[in-house]
Symmetry: C2
C-alpha cells in the first residue's frame, strides 16, 4: 500500500485529479490487449515533462516500480504493472508541438494518438507511414516504446525508421535529449535506437521528433488468390525482383479467408490456400505501370483470381476482407492470442504449413495472416479463456509457433515486443551472451531496476 | 614495447606472417585519411572469427588497447592507435559468405571492400546502396563501425539502414550474435544499432548480415545552376514536396564550381552561386515522369541553366564535375580537412553563407559541397600542413563550422563519426547527460577500456 505522505507528494506534483487510487480506476490500468492482468498501486497522469521528472524522482527515491504506458494496446503484456507500483499514463501529454513542413519533421508528446498525427500531417501534404492495426487509439509513445510496425513496413519501414530524436527522463529523474532534426547523425552512440523498442525499461520518453515524408500521389491495389501457398510465396519474390516495391503485400491463409467470408458473406474464394493483397503507391505513371506488372505476374504465377483496383472506391472494396479479420475472429472464439513472428521471407510457406499442423495437433483454430513480404506473420490462436484445459493447449501451441519461427532463422517478435508473454521463449531466439549484454545495459542505466521491472528478461 | 612472449602467443594465433612489428609495417597502420598519426606496438591480421576471439582474449588479459581497423579511409581519426597497443586489421577477412537472392540478404566478413559487394550483388540483380566516396577501397566493417553514408542516403538511407545482424566479439573475447535475416525484429534491445557507428569502442565486428534491394531499372539526372543559394534550397523543398524522391541531390557552391572548372576546363557556370545535381532512379515510366517534373521545377525556380541526362553516357558527363571535386582540391592546397556537418534542411543557405564568411575571416579556402537534400554538407578546408600558423587557423575555422552547425539544431557529424578530431566539440552538440549515458554504456560493456580507447569521448 502506498503511504498517505507519498500520495500527497504525487498529488502536489500533478494535481489531485491526475492521481488515481480507487479500485475501479486502478483496474483500468491493470491490463492491456492481452489476457494478463495485475493491479498497480497508483496511477499518475502527468501533463508535462517537468511533472514526469518530479514523479520519476519520487519513484527513484522510494525505489518503486514505475510503468510508463500509452493507450494499452500492447499485445505482449508490456504495460502490465506486475510488481505494482506506479503506472505513469502519458495519455494526457497529447500535444503535437510542431509539424515542420520545410524539414519534414513532427515533434510530438508521447500521448498523441498515431492516427491523429497521420491526419494532421496529411493536412500539410505529409505522411507518417507506420500503421499499427490499433492506429485509431494507440499512441506514438507506445509505438516508440515497442517499436510498432504495420502493413506498410515493406516499403516504408517501422516506427524506428521515423524516430529522429527523443527527450528521455532517465530512472534518476535526469532528462536527456538524443538526436534532433538533422536527418543524418552519427555523433556518438545511437541512443535513440536503444530507447526505441526498449519497452519502457530504460526511461520515460517525453518528446519525440519524427521524420515525415511526402504523401504519395496515388495508390492502387491487386487482390489475387492462389490454390497453392508456394505459388503465393514465389510471386512475392518475383514482384520484388521485378524492381517493383509495393507499399503493402498482405497474406490471408485459408482459415482466415473462410472466417472472414463467414463474417462478410462477400463471396471470397473459400477454397484458395492464400489470398494476397498488394498495394502500390507513388506518382500516377509509376502506379499504373506497376499495377500492370503485378497483375501480369499474378496471372503468370498460377493465380486463380486477380482483381485490380485503381480508384479509392475500388480499393476500399478490395481491402474490406483484410480489415474485417479482427472483428470476424471474435465470432469464432471469445479470445485470441495474436503472435507476430518474423521469419526470413523464404521460410514463409514452410512456417504457414507448420502452424496449420500445430492448429490440428493442438486442436485449436489458428488463423494466419500478416505481412508476407517482410516475413512478419500473425498466427492468431482462437480460444476461450474460461476453459483452463484449452488455455494449456494455447500455451503449448504458442511455444510450438516460436519453435518453428526461431528454427528457420526468424525471431519471436517482429512488431509487438517481448513484454511478459514471450520472455520464457527468449532463449530460443537469442544466445545467452546476447541477452547478457542487454541485461548489462539495463543494469547500468537503471541500477535500481525501477523502470518497468520484470519485462523483456525473465526474472529481471 | 611488446614482450617477446606475448608476440609469440599472437604469432601462434594468427601465424607469423600475420603479425607485423617492423617500424615500416607499423607506420602503415599509424594513420588514416586525416593528418593525425600514432604508432601501434603491433599489428595483427586475423583471417577468422576464432583468430579474432583469441587475439581479443590476449588483449583482455593484458589490458592492452585494441583498435579494430578496415582500410583506414576514416576521416575523423577513428582508427589512429593513440594509446599504442594492438591494431587489429580486418582486411584479410574478405569473404562474401552468402548472397541470398530469395531473402535479399548478404552475409559478409568485415574486410569486404564495399564496392566489391556492390558489384557482386549487382550480378544477381541486387543493390547495396550505401556509397561512401571511398567505395573502391573502404571496407564494410569500417562502414559499419562509423555508420558511413553517401550521396544516395536521401532515398536509400545510410549503412545502418542495411545492417540486419552482426556477429560481435566482446572485449572479454566472448562472441555474440545480434539480429539476423528476419526483416522486422523487435526482440529485446536494438543491440545491432548500438554497435553500428560505435567506432570500434564496444567490440570487434566479425560478420555482418546486410539487407539488399532490387537494382533500380534505370536512372536519369538533372544538372541545374542557380544565381542565388536560396533558390537552390527552395527548389529542393519543392521537389520533395512534389512527391518525387530523387536518389541523389548534390550541391556544389561557387568556390567548388570554380575549383572543379579550373581542373576540368569544361565550361561549368563559374558565376553560379550553386550547382545542383539531381538523380532519379526506378522503373522507366516513373523516371521519365520525374525527370520532367524536376526539370520544370528547376526552370520555374530561377535556374540559370538546366541540363537533363537520360542515357548512361549523358549521365556520366553530368556527373563528371561532382566526381572531380576531390582530385581538383589537391591542386589548390596540399591538404584538406573534410567536415561532414549535418543540419536541418531549412538551415542550408544560412550555413553555407556563414561558412563562406568563415573562409574569408580565417583567410582559408573552404569549398562546400555535399548532400543538400538531407542537410549533410562537406565544407572542405584547404591548407598546407607544413605551415603551423595556417594549422592554427584551420583549427579555428573548424570550430567555427561546428559552432554554426550545432547552433541551427544540426550535429557535428552526419557520416564520418567523432573519432579524435571532433571530440572536443562534443559538448557543443550533446548535453552532458546524454554523453554520460553513452559513457555509462561504454564502461558497462568495456570495463577495462581496451576497445579503441580515447575515441568519441574526450579523455576516455
Amino acid at each position: 500500500m502506498i503511504e498517505a505522505k507519498l500520495l500527497d507528494e504525487l498529488r502536489d506534483i500533478v494535481g489531485e485529479e491526475n492521481v488515481l487510487t480507487t479500485p475501479e480506476e486502478l483496474l483500468c490500468y491493470s491490463y492491456d490487449s492481452t489476457v494478463l492482468q495485475h493491479l498497480p498501486e497508483i496511477v499518475v497522469l502527468p501533463r508535462t515533462t517537468a511533472e514526469v521528472i518530479a514523479t520519476v524522482k519520487v519513484a527513484h527515491r522510494e525505489k518503486m516500480p514505475l510503468v510508463p504506458r500509452g493507450a494499452g494496446t500492447n499485445l505482449a503484456g508490456g504495460t502490465i504493472p506486475i510488481r505494482g507500483g506506479i503506472v505513469l499514463s502519458l495519455t494526457r501529454m497529447t500535444d503535437i508541438l510542431e509539424i515542420d513542413t520545410i524539414n519534414m519533421v513532427a515533434v510530438v508528446q508521447p500521448g498523441v494518438v498515431t492516427g491523429k498525427l497521420q491526419a494532421q500531417a496529411a493536412k500539410q501534404g505529409l505522411y507518417y507511414p507506420p500503421d499499427p492495426a490499433s492506429l485509431k487509439v494507440t499512441t506514438i509513445g507506445g509505438n516508440v516504446g515497442m517499436n510498432a510496425g504495420g502493413p506498410h513496413a515493406l516499403k516504408y519501414g517501422v516506427t524506428s525508421d521515423y524516430v529522429m530524436g527523443l527527450q528521455v527522463v532517465l530512472p534518476s529523474g535526469e532528462v536527456i535529449r538524443t538526436g534532433g532534426k538533422a536527418i543524418k547523425n552519427v555523433t556518438g552512440y545511437n541512443l535513440t535506437q536503444l530507447y526505441v523498442g526498449s519497452e519502457g525499461t530504460l526511461g520515460v520518453i517525453t518528446e519525440i521528433t519524427l521524420r515525415l515524408i511526402p504523401q504519395p500521389e496515388t495508390s492502387g491495389s491487386v487482390l489475387a488468390a492462389f490454390a497453392d501457398l508456394d505459388d503465393a510465396a514465389i510471386l512475392v519474390n518475383r514482384i520484388l525482383q521485378s524492381g517493383v516495391t509495393p507499399a503493402v503485400i498482405e497474406i490471408m491463409d485459408q482459415m482466415t479467408i473462410q472466417t472472414v467470408d463467414d463474417y462478410l458473406q462477400s463471396g471470397l474464394p473459400r477454397e484458395a490456400a492464400a489470398l494476397l493483397l498488394i498495394q502500390m503507391d507513388g506518382v500516377q505513371a509509376a502506379v499504373d505501370q506497376e499495377l500492370g506488372v503485378v497483375a501480369q505476374l499474378c496471372r503468370d504465377n498460377k493465380a486463380t483470381m486477380v482483381e485490380v483496383a485503381k480508384t479509392p472506391g475500388e480499393e476500399a472494396t478490395l481491402w474490406k476482407a483484410r480489415q474485417s479479420i479482427s472483428p470476424s475472429l471474435t465470432r469464432v472464439r471469445p479470445n485470441k492470442l495474436g503472435e507476430d513472428i518474423s521469419v526470413p521471407r523464404e521460410a514463409i510457406p514452410q512456417v504457414v504449413r507448420r502452424v496449420q499442423e500445430i492448429s490440428r495437433q493442438r486442436d485449436l483454430p489458428i488463423v494466419i495472416f500478416g505481412h508476407i513480404s517482410d516475413g512478419n506473420l500473425h498466427p492468431n490462436i482462437l480460444f476461450d479463456q474460461s476453459d483452463p484445459e484449452e488455455m494449456e493447449r494455447v500455451e503449448a501451441a504458442s511455444g510450438d509457433i516460436f519453435e518453428i519461427a526461431t528454427s528457420v532463422g526468424g525471431t519471436l517478435s517482429g512488431e509487438h515486443g517481448i513484454g511478459l508473454l514471450k520472455q520464457k521463449y527468449l532463449k530460443l531466439d537469442l544466445p545467452d551472451g546476447t541477452v547478457e549484454v542487454m541485461r548489462t545495459i539495463k543494469r547500468a542505466l537503471d541500477p535500481d531496476n525501477i523502470m518497468n521491472p520484470g519485462k523483456i528478461f525473465p526474472d529481471s
